[in-house]
Structure formats: C-alpha cells, structure tokens
Symmetry: C2
Subunit: 317 residues, 2 copies
DNA sequence: TATATTTGTGTAATTAGTTACGTAATTGTA
DNA sequence: TACAATTACGTAACTAATTACACAAATATA
C-alpha cells in the first residue's frame, strides 16, 4: 500500500489490521478446501480442546487469551455444529465442562493434513522474506509487555518537551519579559500594586543587587516563564520565592515545576535553609505546584501585598 | 503467549489480531495524552485529508484501502466533531466533497508533535528487535499479492496429495482391482456388456499379450485407479485408451489426470502417433479430463460397446 | 435521444471481538 | 456459622470493520 509509505510507522496499527483481515479471509476458504466444518475463529478453542481433556470456559479463555464471553459464544456455535459437548461439573455447579464431541474428535484426525499444509505454506512464505514476521510479532509482544506503546510514546513526549525548555539566569535582555509575564497574570486575577511596579520596573536594584536572583525559562529559546529569589532580611527565612509567572500559551508543559525546582536548587546552592512565599488561595494550580515543590502553609505574616492571603515555607534539610 | 508456541504458525492470524488490538488500544490513549479530539480509526481518513484538498468519499476509501461505507461512517463521526466539512460537488451531484474544517486544520498543527513521538517510539522499538515488523508486513503484503495464502496452501495440498499417488505397471496382484474398479462405474452408469467381461476377466490374454499395457494408480499404496492402453489393429490409430476407472473415494485428488497422463506417456514411449478412445457424453468429468489430456472429438465410428456415443483421438506430435 | 451501464454514496445487516453487568455457586473469614 | 468476597459464566450492549443492496446522477451506446 502506497498509503503507508506516506504515513510512516505511526500507521502500523492500521497496516496490521489489514494484513490480519487478509489472512483470516483466506483461512475461511482453507477450511472449505479441506471440507472441514469449522470457522477460523473457532480454531483457538478447537485447538486447546483437541488435547482431549474437558475444560471450563474460563480455562479456555485464559489459555487462548480471549475474554470469556467470546469463548462462551464460540462454544455455543460449535455446540450447534455438534463439535463440542457441555456438561455441568458435579462438584462445582458453576463450571461448564466443555470437551470435543465424537464429531469434533473426528475432525482432529481430518485436520492434520491441513495443519501440515498451512504450516508448510507459511514456512515457505517466511523463507522468502528477509524479516521473519512470526519472530517479529514475538519480539513486539515481549517488548510491549515490558513497556507498553503508550508509555514509550509518553516518555518520548516528555523527553522532547523537556529539551525545548531551558532554565537560564536573568540578563537585561529578559527585563521586558520579566515585567510582561508577571503583569499578565497579576492583572488577570488581581490588580497591580505599588510593590509590583517597584520590583518589576527595577529588578536590578530591588532584587539582583540586594543578593537576589531571577531565573528565566526559555521554551524554544523564547522566554516563557520567570521566577525570582529575593534575599530576605528576616530571622526566620533566608529567601523569598516571588514573581513566578508562566505564559498561559505554554501551560501543561511542566515549565512551572522546572522553574520552581531550579529556584529551590539555586537557593540550596546559596546555602539557604529556608524559603518563604506568599500567594492567594484562588490560584489553585500554583498552590499545588508549591506543595509539589515541598512548601507547607505557615501562620499568617504581614505582607506588603494586598492579594496575599496564604504564606508557605520550605525547610531545606 | 505460550499458546502460540504450541499451535505453530498456522495461528498467525489470531496472533496478528491480538497484537493489532493491543496497539490500537494504546493509540486511543495516545491521542488523549496529546489532548487531540480524535479516534485511532479516524486517523487514515484524517491523514489523507490533511494534505489540504477536498476529496470524495470513494477517493479517500481507495487511498486508505477501506470500503466506502466505512469511510462514509467515519466522515459522519468526524463531522459531528466539527473536524470536516461536506459539500456537494456542483458539477457532479453524486459527489460528496470532504475537506478538513478550520478545527480539523488546527489539529494538523497540533498533531505534528504526536507524529514525531509515535514514530520515534516505534523506531526505537524496531531498533530493539532482530526482525523488523514493519518490513516483514511489507514483504508479506507483497508476497500475498503475488499469490494468496489460500493458493499457497492449495498448492501445498496438491503437492502432498500427489506424493501419495504412484503410477505403477499392472501385475497379477491388481487383477481384482482392475475388474472391481471398472465394474463399479460401468454398472453405476450403464450395464456390464459382453466385451467388458472379456477384457476385465482376462486382461492378460485380451490386453497385455496383444501388445497392450495396463497402469495402476496407487493412493497410499492401495490401488485407486486403473487404465488400459490397448493395441489397435486399425490403419488410423495405434492404441486405444480404455477401461479407465478411478475409485469415487479418492475423487478430487487429480488421480484421473495423473493416470491419463501416464498412459499417454507410455504410448509415446512405445512410438505411438495416435490414440483413440470411446466414451459417453453423460460422463462429463471424464470428457473434460480427455480434453485436458489433449483429445479431440472425431466422427462416429462403430464400436463393440452399446454405451459408446462419443469418440475422441489424440494426435501425438 | 432513449436506454443501458457505470459511478458515488448512503443504509442495513453481519462479523468477531470487546466491556459492563447480573446471578448463582463456592470459598474465605470474623 | 453467617456473611463477605471471589469465581464461573451467561446476556446485553457496543465497536470497527465488512458485504449486500438501493438509488440517484452521470456517462456510454444503440
């Protein structure tokens, strides 16, 4: 199919489905050729019963990897064709013991030639290929059992996304971004206050020159988040984490966490034992993030900000 | 699955189905991960439309290898989710021109990352295997297009069956079989005549000692078919092919053809240029077989047999 | 130009599986 | 020993495809 050359391997599911359908279709014709009264879908059930012993529906289902209703249906169909007999277990009234009938057993004889020929045909097919389909399926089954396709894709996603995010130190280039990103969320939820203007308009004199730091999260090399670490003149706390802002256009990419983490690491590297922050309880995702970073709520302290209604601290061990 | 180790490769259909199901299941979760409003089954349709142009239902179906009702249904579902827009073709009222809507187009942007990650994940999976599943599927598609699985199995069957058939020269051991097999079909369709009894009761004096031959087809080493080559005392023909009989219990195994062929070869090896035969038009499979062997109808000749109403000849080049 | 054939599409029924759920029998446990 | 949990399995509803069929529109043909 030309289609699959275009799509690439992400269409492997569709492609597999088509091949499967093609093979199943021929399987039905093959039973007819050998004049055997059986449908391809019965085969797995027939096969496990052909060992001879009677088995329960659930046993068969487990063995062939189907759901039990599927086996239940197949057994009913096979019973209609007199291939199996059902019998309630005497010691366990729930169990429906299924075994091949005389007619079913007679088919096990008749079908031997078909088994031989089909196996031979497939072996020859495989011998003509450079990549062994049977073994390839086996390998996929093994690998997917260890780690599902979903998990593989998710990890791929995380890796790619995290490559796009870089946390860098503040430079004058980011002055505008520092102001804009903060003004954006502050004025969305509250209103800008005097203390905001002071810090955002003069980060050098109000934050950096006083022993503080600012980190910038770049997403695809563009500033998408900022956060400040402000030196506190307080017996209880070394630094305050403040002015954290992440652009709403890049939400859900874990940038807040990466930024917060980097700020905490920075504080640690500066020998800090405690970090303080102020926030507002209506900013639920932010509060969650602070929790995730290890912050805990503390008793109220006075704040220069009107919007502050919750205070948190992180004790560094 | 342990099951498949037991069954051998004839269960490749079932095994493929299971792998397909596993992958499709994860595909649905993957779309969710990327927050894309799409089902795995929509993907092929979405993909061909993402090229931009509007296409008819049938075009899409052809391109992705689905039936048109399948595409029709998918389109309706996608329309319900505002992913496509339908529009009747102005110049051809039958055509339903389908293209991606604005929302659909916006997904083509969003989905790029997902494509990348899924392809990457599958590439890595393939890199971890010794047998490339993708290429293996491709090879199977190619080989099955050239000759279907059904035809491969049928040929395998024929080959195995023909190994069971041996054509041997007549010996006294086969006297009873020569008589019985012939009497069986003659008395089923007609009634035994004087000439029949003579030849069948005394093959040595009536056939072999007069320069004729008898061949016996053994199926599993038991006589299952016979045929005589009788020397003719006629200016037009060297030999007559007669008394061909195949047991109805082994019908459909090509034994008649193998036997007839062997008789013709025997005649050739004896230097014959012409072979003659008599039959009856109600024996259609027999007449077909004679045609297949190269015999053609000739004008009526007198015959010692009442049942003879058609005569045929083979000219050996 | 009338009619037959082909083409495009929708609807209905079928298929081979699934999950969800109900119920009865058995087993485990306080 | 009473009751909760588990097990076995059947029924119902759903899913993602198919084939069969109907019908209208367009095209080919006598």
């Amino acid at each position: 199919m030309d289609f699959f050359n275009k799509t690439g391997k992400m269409a492997i599911g569709s492609r597999l489905r088509m091949l499967t359908e093609m093979i199943t279709e021929d399987a039905a014709k093959i039973y007819k050729l050998y004049d055997i009264d059986m449908q391809p879908k019965w085969f797995p059930v027939f096969y496990v019963l052909s060992a001879g012993e009677a088995k329960t529906i659930t046993d068969v289902a487990k063995e062939i990897g189907h759901s039990h209703p599927s086996v239940s249906k197949i057994i009913r169909e096979m019973a209609k064709h007199d291939l199996v007999t059902e019998q309630k277990d005497k010691t366990d009234g729930r169990r429906n013991m299924v075994s091949l009938s005389t007619k079913g057993l007679s088919i096990t004889q008749k079908i031997e030639d078909q088994y031989t020929d089909v196996n031979q045909a497939i072996e020859q097919l495989i011998a003509q290929t450079r990549n062994d389909l049977w073994k390839a399926i086996e390998e996929w089954e093994f690998l997917l059992e260890q780690k599902s396709l979903f998990n593989r894709v998710r990890d791929q996603n995380k890796e790619r996304e995290s490559l796009k995010v870089k946390i860098v130190d503040y430079t004058a280039d980011y002055k505008q971004a520092f102001r804009d990103l903060n003004e954006e969320w502050i004025s969305k939820w509250f209103k800008m206050e005097g203390a905001d203007y002071k810090a955002l308009d003069n980060p050098e004199s109000y934050i950096l020159n006083r022993g503080g730091h600012i980190l910038v999260a770049l997403y695809n090399n563009k500033p998408a988040g900022v956060c400040a670490l402000i030196k506190m003149d307080d017996p209880d706390y070394d630094y305050e984490m403040a002015k954290m802002a992440v652009s709403p256009t890049v939400q859900g990419k874990n940038i807040g966490f990466l930024l917060g983490n980097a700020i905490v690491e920075k504080a640690k590297s500066l020998g800090a034992k405690t970090i303080y922050l102020e926030s507002n309880t209506i900013l639920k995702p932010a509060i969650n993030l602070y929790h995730k970073l290890g912050f805990n709520k503390v008793a109220a302290r006075t704040s220069p900000y009107e919007r502050s209604n919750i205070q948190m601290e992180l004790i560094i061990k």
